[in-house]
């Protein structure tokens, strides 16, 4: 329905006769369809779930008891507190190393992937390649590299670095593209070379973005490093967690380790926020 109050303004009405303020777009249709399909699949999955002879109420009760033991009676039995701290350090080290190497590589490729700093063609090629890297989850990359390096820390470092590079190139190059193109033009006009422009204009302007993306990735890599310890035998706290839960069935230890990881993550978060504030407010 179409109507008009002022002769020039054409507006539409809803079925109820109210003035319409939102129009149907393809994206809203796609979102609604996706959501309803997901809802249907969830309900269908739950209804047709084969629970064998597990009694649901019993199971929930047991689960609650396990959870209680895990988080209210956490303790260590197979190793000491200091050993666990050391393992946390190993995991942090894995995260740090992969972020550092990845960040370094991504910085250079990110410059080449930014359309305003390189050519359209180079940028498209790198971005396409990087999209492919990111589409494959970190665990899979680790397993792919494990074929050559064997399961263990080497495969984990290479695999995690690989995915980090993919992620950071996208983040970095988009930060570079956001930069006001005027200051690039100004330095170019005064005869500055490409590298000089990069270091004197691009990096100072993009510093905060680079920093926050790198830290975000560091946090992701910490979680990844925990998972890789378990999945790829990369050592660190993740491996201990895996042993405690899958090997010794020691829920108390699982609880303790979980607390430790949570605590570390919080410290990282606080640290990164502080760092960002300091840089954002300027020195």
């Amino acid at each position: 329905m179409e109507g008009s109050i002022v002769s020039t303004v054409k507006y539409r009405k809803t079925n109820k006769g109210k003035i319409k303020i939102r129009t149907v777009t393809t994206s809203s249709v796609v979102i609604k369809t996706t959501l309803s399909i997901l809802l249907f699949l969830t309900v269908y999955g739950l209804v047709t779930l084969d629970t064998k002879d597990v009694n649901l109420i019993e199971a929930v009760k047991d689960f609650a008891i396990n959870l209680r033991t895990m988080f209210f009676q956490s303790s260590l039995s197979n190793f000491t507190f200091f050993q666990s701290l050391y393992q946390i350090l190993v995991t942090l080290g894995l995260a740090f190393l992969t972020t550092l190497i990845g960040g370094f590589i991504a910085l250079f490729l990110g410059l080449l992937a930014a359309e305003n700093l390189s050519s359209k063609r180079v940028s498209t090629v790198i971005k396409g390649f990087v999209a492919f890297i990111r589409a494959v989850p970190t665990v899979l990359w680790v397993l792919v590299f494990a074929i050559a390096a064997g399961l263990g820390s080497v495969a984990a470092v290479i695999g995690m670095t690989f995915h980090t590079v993919g992620y950071l190139i996208k983040a970095y190059s988009e930060s570079f593209e956001e930069i006001d193109k005027g200051c690039i033009e100004a330095l170019k006009a005064s005869g500055a070379s490409w590298w000089q422009i990069v270091f004197q204009a691009i990096l100072p302007s993009a510093a905060t973005y680079l920093l926050s993306w790198t830290f975000l990735r560091f946090e992701v890599n910490f979680t990844n490093a925990v998972a890789m310890g378990a999945a790829a035998g990369a050592g660190g706290i993740g491996f201990e967690l895996f042993m405690a839960s899958g090997f010794y069935f020691n829920v108390r230890e699982v609880g303790f380790i979980t607390y430790l990881i949570l605590f570390t993550a919080i410290i990282l978060e606080v640290f990164s926020t502080r760092l960002k504030n300091k840089f954002l407010l300027g020195s």
Binding site: D180, G182, C183, E185, A186, L187, K188, A189, S190, G191, A192, S193, W195, Q196, V198, F199, Q200, A201, P204, S205, A207, G282
Partner: protein
């Protein structure tokens, strides 16, 4: 002495002719304004001179050098001799005033010195001197995002001056400023040209300002030079010719 000679320069974008057969020459120390309606090709013309944009045809001779034939390295060397000032200042806002000024030296520096920002004491002293002259002596360590528009533009001028240029290209240097800051900036540009003998080529939107400050005015319309002469010869008829009747009424009244 002729410093810049622009001969038959043309520039095409896909379907628009931004410049067609532009001819003029500039003597050393001249202060020239380029006026014309929006889209006339003023910015394109200015950027063809230091090859921020590559012209399709013609010849540009600057200080005896054929600009369009230069390779990358010689082009960088040429650009150190031509300063440029922009409407939106184009500073690196996260850096301090003096760092931005010193950026004007980058073209003279070895790659690595420029990358890590290592400047000689003489260069720093020169920067301080220029900033002092432009009335920015109190702001040298301020970050550029803390400055007013007029101050930012003065930093832009300082950055081009430290290049020791033979010519300065200004693309609408006062278009984002209020009248009093505009006057400060135009006065300083005029001083530079008179005292240091630096040639100025200024794109302007304000005809009165162009008449007041420049020795010579070049009027551009649809990529063609339609007027080229001393500013006192700019009659209302020629203003009509440059801007078209409608706008001409507004300007002349």
């Amino acid at each position: 002495m002729v410093l810049l000679d622009v001969k038959n320069v043309s520039k095409r974008y896909k379907d628009t002719k931004a410049l067609s057969n532009v001819n003029f020459s500039v003597k050393e120390g001249e202060f020239i304004s380029i006026i014309g309606p929006s889209g006339a090709g003023k910015s394109t013309l200015l950027r063809c001179i230091n090859r921020m944009i590559d012209a399709n045809d013609g010849e540009i001779i600057f200080d005896g050098i054929d600009v369009l034939k230069l390779n990358k390295r010689d082009l960088r060397r040429l650009r150190t001799k031509i300063g440029m000032i922009f409407q939106h200042y184009n500073l690196v806002y996260r850096l301090s005033v003096i760092e931005n000024v010193l950026h004007g030296r980058l073209g003279y520096k070895s790659k690595i010195d420029g990358i890590i920002g290592r400047y000689s004491e003489e260069e720093k002293e020169q920067a301080l001197k220029i900033l002092e002259d432009l009335g920015l002596g109190q702001q040298i360590y301020k970050r550029c995002d803390e400055l007013s528009g007029g101050q930012k533009q003065r930093v832009g001028i300082a950055r081009s001056l430290i290049q020791n240029p033979k010519m300065i290209l200004c693309d609408e240097p006062i278009a984002s400023l209020d009248p009093s800051s505009s006057k400060v900036i135009m006065d300083q540009l005029k001083d530079i040209s008179v005292e240091k003998g630096i040639t100025c080529l200024v794109n302007l939107h304000q005809v009165e300002v162009a008449i007041k400050y420049s020795d010579r005015i070049i009027g551009v319309n649809s990529g063609q030079v339609v007027f080229d002469g001393p500013s006192r010869e700019l009659s209302s008829d020629t203003i009509y010719a440059i801007y078209g009747t409608e706008a001409g009424n507004l300007i002349v009244d």
